[in-house]
């Protein structure tokens, strides 16, 4: 008996010896689950084409990730589901009439150029889905900057707001999604349902979405717009465009957003401000996705600046530390 036991070899690892069950794959699966109400509403509004678009885009994104890593003899990472999430989110910010082949091109750009060339998950500095969308809108602006429903071009609510025309949609219509727009952006109600799930599952924290949406709301509330009531204008800005979806699903992208706690709030406020800057003064009616791409580039600097006050250091000591650092630099 002793002989047998002596031959037993045991694993030795440093603490902790237990880990949570929630791994990367589960987190990505949670994101996919959270988009179910949004995709469902998209199918209800725009027809089965949406589902085809979603599934083929997910499949294409997974294929590109697999093929890239296979060709470069890297470990296959598709089972973490992050590629599937990218493919899914890309479709969410495209208009419903987008042809499947166009989404596939977007997937290629998002996965290969934006994500894998920089080392894959966790290393890319731009949000792949939004970069894919930016690439597609630049390449096929004729097809993608308009929204076509049942063969008829529909003006989006933000288009009305931009032009300063009277808004034909009530707030309830904007909130529940009876408006034209990108597949994932129209129903704030469905998006909030998804967000509640993500926050309950601790996949995302409330900080970034709250900062983005809060900033957009307060900036538009304060500055208003001629021809609209301040509150009405502010709520339409939050619900009618891409702020709700991108603020919750895109701005919280792990790789491209700050990890520090104050940094996340700063980042969210930055996105909100840039969005409103574009909406007020830019050429586009929409601005959220570009705002996020710009803030993505600031992520590293924000994290550096938002160093945390560690345990045992009082506020006064922390301020003194910062001051000493500043003096050392100058």
């Amino acid at each position: 008996m002793n002989e047998k036991k002596e031959r037993m070899i045991f694993d030795v690892t440093y603490q902790p010896q237990v880990r949570t069950v929630r791994d990367t794959q589960r987190i990505m699966l949670d994101v996919i689950i959270a988009t179910i109400p949004i995709v469902g509403f998209g199918v209800y509004r725009f027809g089965w084409h949406v589902l085809l678009l979603v599934l083929s885009s997910m499949a294409a994104a997974v294929f590109f990730e697999w093929a890239y890593r296979r060709l470069l003899k890297k470990s296959i990472s598709i089972d973490d589901l992050s590629a599937a999430v990218t493919g899914l989110l890309l479709v969410m910010v495209l208009p419903p009439q987008t042809p499947v082949w166009m989404a596939v091109i977007g997937d290629f750009f998002a996965i290969v150029i934006v994500k894998q060339l920089y080392g894959g998950i966790g290393k890319n500095f731009l949000n792949p889905a939004l970069a894919g969308r930016a690439f597609l809108t630049a390449s096929y602006s004729g097809v993608l900057t308009i929204v076509v429903i049942d063969g008829v071009t529909a003006a989006t609510p933000l288009g009305f707001l931009k032009a300063g025309n009277p808004m034909p949609f009530t707030l309830a219509q904007s909130f529940f999604g009876a408006i034209p727009g990108s597949i994932g952006e129209i129903s704030s109600f469905a998006i909030l349902a998804g967000a509640a799930y993500l926050i309950a599952r601790k996949v995302i924290r409330w900080r970034i979405p709250a900062a983005v949406i809060g900033t957009v709301f307060f900036v538009s509330l304060i500055f208003g717009h001629s021809g609209y009531g301040h509150l009405d204008w502010a709520l339409q800005n939050v619900c009618a465009g891409g702020v709700m979806f991108t603020g919750i699903f895109m701005a919280t992208d792990y790789s491209t957003s700050p990890v520090t706690i104050n940094g996340q709030i700063l980042y969210g406020i930055g996105i909100g401000l840039l969005t409103m800057l574009i909406r007020y003064f830019g050429g586009y009616a929409e601005g959220c996705s570009y705002a996020i791409l710009i803030m993505n580039l600031c992520t590293w600097a924000i994290d550096k600046a938002c160093h945390r006050r560690q345990f045992g250091v009082s506020r006064a000591e922390f301020a003194a530390q910062k001051k000493a650092k500043k003096e050392a630099v100058s």
Binding site: V12, P16, G122, P258, V259, Q310
Partner: protein, 448 residues
């Protein structure tokens, strides 16, 4: 008294306090390591062929940071030689052949006058070999005496926030009055008027029981605490009870606090009232390789192989043996290793508990930052560790890491964070030592 510390995690507790405490039959042979504490190891006082009694002192060292060790069974010394220690090394140990008589050699219980005398209590704590039984095994007498004059708050740690472990909880339920008396003694030895006893709310039955015994009579106040790991961490316990934060690199005494664990307080009671030295403790034996969990009063020096056998043997092949709790416990390399004073649990894990991956990739989710109770930034610390950037590691305060494992527990990408920080700290220490030696050499050169 409702302060909160930031961060923390909620591991699956998997506790089994409903399993009554059983007494594990002592093994035929016990192996008593001469180092069961932080500090100077003891010199054996016995030699091969000697007859020893239970509770008899068999190892001692007069250094201030040390604690004597005692025989956990009566019988004959069959060897005094290096044996595998739970920490992995070979450590000088006394091997005793058990005569199953348990002939005791007790110290005289303290007289009522001595029970009021801080010095007498302190001497007894030292003599009985009481160490931090929560796992750190820091000599308690030294902890108390070194804090004198600085400490105004005595805290008893009853959080038991580690999953699986039940020893503290069961001690509270089984010996509440003795426990309160032990705390009273620690309080007198420390020279303070009041002791706070922090207990996690998941032990409500113990909180109610202790409160029903009028703890104020002993100068003790029970503080129910939120159920969260690492509530039982020394710094977190101080923060929760007093709101004070131990300074980076500082000691609890620096903010006027001294923290001792539940089982330590009970050991103090046993030493002073019953004249017993530390030779046994409740060990929780659990893990998926063991059929059913066992909470057994186990003698110090019992081998893991014997424990497994007594608990019904393995139902599945164990892959890992953890001594202590799963969050901060260490891995044993062999079944020959024995339990020591600080071993609160022996967990036999199979591949079910193994959640490591071959190529962990950080996804920058930032969860490690959210859960770090020391408010550090583990993900960046890890990146600087990978680059061996010691300057930045210091700037990111890797030295403040308490190695609680919360970040690693929560990490969805399975990064070996705590391991990296432990290594980084050792590397920084080695570097500092090297630089110091260099500076000294240069100073000598200059003096010439």
């Amino acid at each position: 008294m409702a302060f909160k510390f930031k961060g923390g995690v909620h591991p699956d507790y998997r506790k089994s306090p409903e399993v009554p405490v059983t007494v594990m039959t002592p093994p035929k042979q016990v192996v008593i390591p001469m180092a069961q504490h932080i500090g100077a190891p003891c010199t054996p006082l016995v030699k091969k062929g000697d007859t020893v009694k239970m509770y008899q002192k068999i190892g001692e060292n007069s250094a201030p940071v040390s604690a004597p060790v005692h025989a956990s069974v009566s019988g004959t010394v069959v060897a005094v030689e290096p044996r595998p220690h739970p920490l992995g090394d070979l450590i000088m140990s006394v091997v005793i052949e058990n005569d199953y008589q348990d002939t005791p050699e007790l110290m005289e219980p303290l007289t009522p006058a001595e029970l009021k005398d801080p010095e007498a209590i302190l001497r007894r704590i030292r003599e009985a070999g009481v160490v931090g039984m929560g796992g750190a095994m820091f000599p308690t007498a030294f902890k108390i005496s070194s804090g004198r004059g600085k400490v105004d708050t005595l805290i008893i740690n009853g959080a038991e926030c580690e999953p699986y472990l039940n020893g503290d909880h069961l001690t509270m339920l089984g010996h509440p009055e003795e426990l309160l008396r032990g705390i009273e003694l620690a309080r007198i030895a420390q020279g303070v008027d009041k002791a706070w006893y922090g207990i996690e709310k998941n032990k409500q039955d113990a909180i109610d029981l202790l409160n029903s015994l009028d703890p104020a009579k002993y100068g003790v106040e029970i503080v129910p605490e939120e159920e969260k790991y690492p509530q039982g961490g020394e710094k977190m316990q101080i923060k929760t009870i007093t709101g004070r934060e131990v300074k980076p690199g500082g000691l609890p005494a620096g903010v006027g606090c001294c923290v001792i664990s539940t089982r330590t307080a009970y050991a103090i009671y046993q030493a002073c009232y019953e004249g017993k030295s530390v030779v046994e403790r409740i060990v929780t034996v659990d893990g998926s390789a063991i059929g059913a969990p066992v909470n057994a009063l186990t003698r110090v020096g019992t081998s893991l192989a014997y424990i497994a056998e007594q608990c019904g043997g393995f139902v599945r092949t164990p892959r890992k043996i953890v001594l202590g709790g799963p969050m901060m416990g260490i891995c044993a390399t062999t079944l020959e290793a024995v339990t020591v004073k600080g071993t609160a649990g022996v967990l036999f894990f199979t591949e079910d508990e193994d959640r490591t991956v071959e190529e962990p990739v950080c996804i920058r989710c930032g969860k490690c930052i959210n859960v770090c109770p020391m408010r550090l930034e583990p993900t960046y610390m890890y990146q600087y560790y990978k680059k061996r950037n010691f300057e930045m590691l210091e700037k990111y305060h890797v030295t403040d890491c308490i190695e609680c494992g919360s970040c690693t527990f929560r990490c969805p990408a399975r990064m070996p964070l705590t391991h990296a920080f432990k290594t980084a700290k050792l590397m920084l220490q080695a570097r500092a030592a090297k630089e110091k030696a260099k500076a000294e050499a240069a100073a000598k050169e200059a003096a010439k």
